[in-house]
């Protein structure tokens, strides 16, 4: 499952961050590293981008970019922290 498929309000742990170049580096720099727990807070009114909660702050990214982030298959068990 990728971050783009995670339903609103649910949290999951990041397994891997794909993609390349500037985008991938940016995702990593903003704290989307493997092992981090992210929560999808909402989807923008026009259906894209999405708003995430991680490491105690809010981050927005586009669905097509969120597809690069794969999740550990066990949502619902864990709660977002911070």
């Amino acid at each position: 499952m990728t971050l783009a498929q995670l339903p609103v309000g649910e949290s999951a742990r990041i397994a891997a961050v794909g993609g390349e170049g500037a985008l991938r580096r940016r995702l990593l720099d903003m704290g989307l590293t493997p092992g981090t727990i992210v929560m999808v807070r909402k989807i923008a009114p026009m259906g894209d981008p999405i708003e995430l909660h991680l490491r105690g702050y809010e981050l927005t990214l586009r669905l097509e970019d969120a597809q690069n982030i794969t999740l550990v298959e066990m949502p619902k068990v864990e709660e977002a922290q911070g």
Binding site: T33, M46, G82
Partner: protein
């Protein structure tokens, strides 16, 4: 002594910069890019309220003389960035400044309420081995929420001094200045650079040893160079002039590390830094759940970016800003200002008459200088008011939400939601719209937005539309207006698509953006920004725009033999109109008066209508009749299409030049817009001719 102020966006960096320097600052730009470079002199902290060390008020004067005099220290405000990666122009500019600008110290601002992500940049700055102080900002918010940070623990683990401050409340700034000066004077470099362990540690150290000579020759700190090589940073590889053999060895070492960790180089380093930070924060930061500010932001966002409420509220806010700026406050202030200018003009005019001055000089002063600069000055209240609202929206954190809500609309033309507001302002006036692109965080987006803004039909063109539609399409006035505005946008979208696949083909900066907590904007920052924009505009009004008005006056007043004309149709300007008229023949309007009016429209779009009135010898109310003698409905449509798209006025061109840092770009905008307008009007007339 020079300090670099570095930190994340939304960390309170601008507020701190303003506290450090007061109004003692000036804005330039980094070479080659449109990234702002703000510099200022650090204020004399020894006269501040919070003294460093024991000192009693009674002995103030006596004590102060004991302090050895210090050379003034300068602080350079670097762009707000999250990492020293080699991708965006902001990050590259920061790296280059820190390495080649040889600052004596770094002041790194860290938002204590968002400490994990903020420290990520800190770890990379420490690698540079430059004396550094951490300004731990928003400590007032932390305290108010009952949260604490073990400052000593943080200091010990990071190996650099940490000063708790509140930039918004001006707390701890004197201590910060004192620590920064001391660190720089004693060359106190970070006591620790190595935050990694295991495979990453071995890899970085091996490479650091190997490239030490290269790094020193290239003037780059070896440890920093090594980390960047491990990350696969291309600019660093080029800079160090490594041999093929060395590159092979590095590649081999990195592959070894990747295999051992089961991940790639970039992820390994990001993970290493964040793992260290997580441990550090667990040991030094005590947080009791969500802060009030965060909870409040989440609540506000339920409405402000809500599924059904987000867009309507955005439109309402923009409508209110427009109405207040262009309708209420701006017009009121403009009226007051123009009343003042009129009074001054009358007084000066009377004075000149009484003196019996040469009528040409009188005309130069009154019709040229006063009328020209006066009309430009009437923009000023609008600009100041608009930037008051814009900086409120920006500083409160709402602008990031606009980008979030509107992103999808602009994505097709290769821009992000951030460009939406400047373009929207373009419907009011291109000048502040172009100036507002300064808030965009990417150089590429900024340039593209500047080039697209003139396609948004500005309000000064409204009188032209009004006169023409009333004369030629009285039954379909509203429809004609809508068609005009929509055509402008449509051509803009086309231009955007073309630019995206030609001029700005490269990868757009990824839209991965923080949504900061909502905060009350600081009055000082808002006022400083307004002052800055006003100063900026006034400088241009009295240079470029002033010269342009004088030229137009000259062309209007004299004939080719430099005699003062009595009949406006004999002026050089009219001659130019005659000369250019054939160019417009394929567009359906051959009358020289149309061409002349378009030329004066270059100084200000309102001038198109007034010139038409002067040249046809009518007043505005009879102008419609006169126009019917010059244009057919079809050629009027073609003329409107041309006015919609042709070169922006001189004030806007000057703004383009200022924001793009390029006279060439400004000239290109003027020329390209004229070409586009010609083609579009040509299409309107030729296609229309098939049906009429």
């Amino acid at each position: 002594m020079v300090f670099a102020l570095a930190g994340n966006q939304n960390s309170g960096k601008t507020t701190l910069f303003n506290q450090l320097t007061g109004s003692n600052q000036h804005v330039g730009n980094f070479p080659g890019v449109t990234v702002d470079k703000k510099e200022g002199i650090i204020r004399d902290h020894t006269t501040g309220e919070h003294h460093f060390g024991p000192r009693s008020w009674g002995h103030e004067r006596h004590k102060r003389s004991e302090i050895p005099p210090r050379a003034p220290a300068t602080v350079v405000d670097l762009p707000g960035i999250y990492s020293l990666s080699p991708y965006t122009s902001e990050e590259i500019v920061t790296r280059d400044f820190l390495i080649d600008g040889k600052p004596d110290g770094i002041i790194n601002i860290v938002d204590a309420t968002n400490i994990e992500r903020n420290l990520y940049l800190t770890l990379q700055l420490i690698e540079l081995g430059i004396p550094m102080v951490i300004a731990l900002n928003m400590m007032d918010e932390m305290r108010a929420n009952g949260n604490t940070v073990d400052v000593n623990g943080l200091e010990k683990e990071l190996g650099v001094p940490v000063v708790p401050i509140s930039a918004a409340k001006n707390e701890g700034i004197d201590e910060l200045i004192e620590h920064a000066l001391r660190a720089a004077e004693h060359r106190e470099c970070p006591r620790r650079q190595d935050f990694c362990s295991g495979a990453v540690h071995r890899c970085i150290h091996g490479i650091a040893h190997m490239i030490e000579d290269h790094a020193q020759a290239a003037g780059v700190p070896p440890y920093f160079a090594a980390t960047k090589l491990v990350e696969g940073d291309e600019p660093m590889q080029k800079r160090l002039h490594l041999t093929d053999n060395e590159l092979d060895l590095i590649g081999h070492s990195v592959t070894e590390m990747e295999t051992e960790l089961g991940t790639d180089r970039e992820a390994a380093l990001a993970d290493m830094r964040y793992s260290f930070i997580e441990k550090l924060c667990a040991a030094t930061v005590v947080k009791h759940g969500e802060s009030r500010e965060h909870t409040r932001s989440v609540q506000l966002d339920k409405v402000l970016t809500g599924k059904y409420t987000g867009i309507p509220i955005f439109l309402l806010i923009m409508l209110a800003v427009f109405w207040l700026t262009f309708g209420v406050i701006g017009t009121f202030l403009s009226d007051v200002l123009s009343a003042g200018i009129d009074a001054l003009t009358a007084a000066v005019g009377a004075g000149l008459d009484a003196y019996g001055i040469n009528p040409v000089v009188r005309s130069l002063v009154i019709d040229g200088v006063f009328a020209g600069v006066g009309s430009v000055l009437s923009f000023l209240p609008i600009i100041v008011t608009l930037f008051f609202f814009l900086s409120m929206l920006e500083d409160s954190g709402y602008m990031a939400r606009v980008a979030f809500v509107m992103d999808k609309l602009l994505r097709k033309i290769g821009l992000s939601g951030r460009s939406f507001v400047p373009m929207l302002i373009g419907f009011g006036c291109s000048v502040p719209a172009i100036m507002a692109t300064r808030t965009l965080s990417s150089d590429r987006d900024r340039k593209m937005t500047i080039l697209l803004t003139p396609f948004m039909s500005c309000s000064a063109k409204l009188p032209i539309y009004a006169v023409f539609t009333a004369a030629f399409f009285p039954q379909h006035g509203a429809l004609a207006m809508i068609v005009l505005y929509v055509s402008g946008m449509a051509v803009g979208v086309l231009a955007g698509l073309v630019m995206k696949s030609t001029l700005y083909k490269g990868n757009p900066v990824p839209f991965v953006m923080e949504l900061p907590n909502y905060r009350v904007p600081s009055a000082k920052s808002v006022l400083l920004l307004m002052w800055d924009k006003a100063k900026d505009f006034l400088t241009r009004a009295f240079t470029v725009i002033f010269v342009a008005t004088i030229i137009i006056w000259f062309l209007q007043t004299f004939d080719t033999r430099l005699n003062v004309v009595t009949d406006s149709s004999a002026s050089i300007l009219a001659g130019l109109g005659h000369l250019l008229a054939p160019l417009f023949a394929p567009l359906g309007f051959t009358d020289w008066r149309a061409a002349t009016a378009l030329i004066t429209g270059f100084s200000a779009k309102e001038a198109v209508v007034s010139t038409m009135a002067v040249l046809t010898g009518t007043n505005i109310s009879e102008l419609g009749m006169a126009l019917q003698g010059i244009f057919t409905p079809l050629s009027a449509a073609s003329f409107l299409a041309f006015t919609l798209l042709y070169s922006p006025c001189v004030a806007a061109i000057a703004a383009v030049k200022r924001e793009m840092h390029s006279g060439f770009a400004a000239a290109w905008v003027a020329l390209a817009q004229c070409l586009i307008a010609w083609v579009f009007a040509f299409a309107v007339f030729q296609v229309g001719s098939l049906f009429v």
